[in-house]
């Protein structure tokens, strides 16, 4: 299901670093990220704004080529390292083997070309077909993603579509060439909940149909809970917790993940409960805090002996719950802290059930 290597692994990212040299110094937007993704499964990446989610996923598509970004590590897609490809080889893979959809579907589409034109373009560049064939394929895909009257709407401009329809069109564009990997960068953040539900349904249906792997980037743990098989929690450019979705959401072992869980109200939770925000704000990536990057905001750092939190960057170590669940924290007894201190605050109703 997760980090355990098996034959089905489609994407394997090893020690990925994306650094941006700027006038003030090097911005380490992604600093040593590793994960695996099997065919037909979904990885959810969560984290605050600026934690490096988009930068990391753009690196998989090679979108940093031609900029001043320094990308290192390995991105193995079907065993082939994408970082070793030349620009032209990488271009051929974009949209063919890896596709991406973005947060704001209005600005992600060119305002001057029809939807059909833009979708068809994705098909034309990778296949030696006529414009007419591309158009037929566009209509077919629009129909597949649930746009009514696709043969008419294909000639509409993006501004004539509603937000949900635009995101559907973006999905159609991404799936035009039946890619093995689809990266969805906050695909529903700009949409209403009912439309979000439609889009998530659609993604799941399509995943079942095409057996593609999906990376879904979001800051909504609810979306992750409903979509992902694995979850990767990012903080300041690094993975701080990674493992099977169910494990992470029921037995999280890293204080930042706890913070994420406690700072969103639950639609069924106790309205009397106060939200527990994470104090402070995200760190600067120019000069991240020494030791554990989360320490300035961590309320549990006193439970770690000595000043480890301030001096030593914790390694990603297996979580107490075992399996493939890993976390980056010095706490010796995170499961206990979670059960005794955190859980009663975020979900009092669950306390008794937990052994």
């Amino acid at each position: 299901m997760t980090t355990t290597t098996n034959a089905d692994v489609l994407l394997s990212v090893r020690d990925l670093k994306v650094h941006f040299p700027t006038m003030d110094g090097i911005v380490k937007a992604t600093d040593g990220l590793s994960f695996d993704l099997a065919k037909g499964t979904t990885l959810g990446i969560v984290g605050e704004s600026g934690s490096g989610k988009s930068v990391s996923s753009s690196a998989i598509l090679g979108l940093h080529r031609g900029t001043n970004a320094i990308v290192s590590g390995e991105i193995l897609l079907d065993g082939e390292d994408l970082l070793q490809l030349n620009d032209e080889q990488m271009r051929r893979r974009r949209g063919q083997d890896v596709a991406m959809i973005f947060q704001d579907p209005l600005s992600a589409m060119h305002p001057y070309y029809t939807v059909g034109n833009q979708i068809g373009e994705a098909y034309l560049v990778h296949n030696d077909v006529s414009k007419k064939a591309a158009r037929t394929r566009s209509i077919e895909m629009l129909d597949r993603v649930g746009i009514p009257q696709p043969d008419r709407r294909v000639d509409d401009y993006p501004h004539q579509f509603s937000g949900g329809m635009r995101q559907r069109a973006m999905i159609a564009m991404a799936l035009m060439n039946d890619p093995g990997l689809l990266i969805a960068d906050e695909p529903t953040t700009a949409l209403d909940v009912t439309v979000q539900a439609q889009i998530l349904d659609l993604l799941q249906d399509l995943q079942r149909e095409f057996n593609s792997a999906i990376i879904i980037i979001t800051h909504d743990l609810g979306v992750v809970a409903e979509m992902a098989d694995d979850v990767l929690v990012m903080y300041a450019g690094r993975a701080v917790e990674y493992g099977p979705c169910k494990e992470i959401l029921t037995h999280p072992e890293m204080p930042y993940t706890w913070g994420l869980l406690s700072s969103v109200p639950d639609v069924q939770g106790d309205t009397d409960a106060r939200l527990i925000p994470i104090p402070g704000s995200p760190p600067s990536l120019l000069s991240p805090p020494k030791g554990c990057a989360f320490h300035p905001r961590c309320v549990h750092r006193d439970k770690v002996p000595g000043d480890l939190c301030f001096t030593e960057l914790p390694d990603l170590t297996p979580a107490r719950s075992g399996g493939s669940h890993v976390k980056r924290c010095h706490l010796p007894n995170p499961d206990e802290v979670y059960r005794v201190e955190v859980l009663p605050e975020i979900a009092p109703d669950l306390v008794e059930e937990t052994p």
């Binding site: 031609g66 949209g95 596709a99 992600a108 060119h110 001057y112 564009m173």
Partner: protein, 337 residues
């Protein structure tokens, strides 16, 4: 779309008519005493009075304006005097429609004067326009693509130099060196297109280049900015993510968006240039509309000035309409009706 064009044309015409009235009021009812200027420097009060009557300056502005409008539509006589026309037809000047007035200084109808100067200015403007658009866009795009490199800084720097130097300096420099000293092109002069297209072009090239260099500087920088802006748009990222070749992204996606604002400015600049190339026309001794305007102003020939204001204004209004219509064609979001 059609309704939109009709609506814009109608409002443009209304605007023009109002403009004629305002111009008439400013020039012919103010303290300028057009009759005195029309008569000449040494005129007795009696002669001035006759002139005043001949041109109709003694009538209220609204009546004058009515006559003027009538002149545009039907043509008119100077002076508007039935009896004189019968007795001494040689003393009456007929001005056929569209009549914009009569210039005493040139002893010509204003329409005729403008008609002779207009092709000169138009030719100049068009050649300059083609030069500066190709140059400006080309160098602007190159600068944007090589942003931050020495090429970029070189292009921006050089264009700034052309922008900073006065037009007459560049004009004189080109005249003296390119034409006279190095003899690369024949001496600038206006030869009608119908007579010899090649000579038309070579004769025009230096003054057109002078004008173009000035405008080009601005267009290089604007194009550069628009292209850079468009390159950072989300839809360009989408185009990349689709796997489009860089060249196609540039030509199809980036440029299309970057050119839209350029179209607006280019249209208005072209219209403005018709009467605005005064210095260049003077340096190269071209009798275009700019030259005509200078001559009229130095001789206080108000009818010409009024005629010019109206003709030039109508071109600006026309350019505005064309630009807006073009905009709607380019950008589907503003399409109306």
């Amino acid at each position: 779309m059609f309704a939109y064009i009709v609506r814009r044309t109608i409002s443009g015409l209304v605007l023009l008519v109002v403009m004629t009235l305002v111009t008439m009021m400013l020039f012919f009812s103010g303290p300028l005493h057009p009759e005195r200027h029309a008569c000449g420097k040494i005129c007795s009060p009696a002669q001035i009075a006759v002139t005043k009557k001949a041109f109709g300056y003694d009538k209220p502005v609204l009546v004058q304006w009515g006559q003027f409008m009538q002149g545009i539509v039907k043509g008119r006589n100077f002076p508007e005097d039935k009896k004189l026309e019968k007795d001494h037809p040689e003393l009456v000047v007929h001005c056929t429609a569209p009549c914009l007035g009569y210039s005493k200084y040139f002893t010509q109808n204003v329409t005729t004067l403008i008609k002779t100067s207009f092709p000169i200015s138009l030719s100049l403007a068009i050649v300059a326009f083609i030069l500066w658009i190709t140059g400006g866009v080309l160098f602007g795009v190159i600068a944007a693509l090589r942003k931050g490199t020495i090429i970029d800084r070189g292009i921006v720097g050089i264009s700034l130099i052309f922008y900073a130097f006065p037009t007459f300096f560049i004009g004189l420099f080109l005249y003296k060196f390119v034409s006279i000293k190095w003899q690369l092109v024949p001496t600038p002069e206006y030869i009608p297109f119908s007579q010899n297209p090649w000579s038309w072009l070579t004769g025009l090239i230096l003054p057109a280049l002078t004008l173009a260099l000035f405008f080009m500087a601005g267009y290089v920088r604007m194009t550069r900015a628009f292209v850079l802006e468009s390159m950072s748009e989300d839809y360009i990222r989408t185009a990349k993510a689709k796997g489009l070749p860089a060249r196609r992204i540039l030509t199809k996606h980036t440029m299309r968006a970057a050119f839209t604002p350029l179209v607006t400015m280019a249209g208005l600049d072209l219209a403005g240039l018709l009467g605005g190339a005064i210095i260049t026309e003077t340096v190269f001794n071209f009798n275009g509309l700019g030259g005509l305007a200078v001559a009229a102003a130095t001789n206080n020939d108000l009818p010409i000035l009024v005629g010019l204001v109206i003709v030039l204004a109508s071109f600006v209004i026309l350019a505005n309409i064309i630009v807006d219509v073009l905009y709607a064609v380019i950008d589907p979001r503003v399409r109306v009706g």
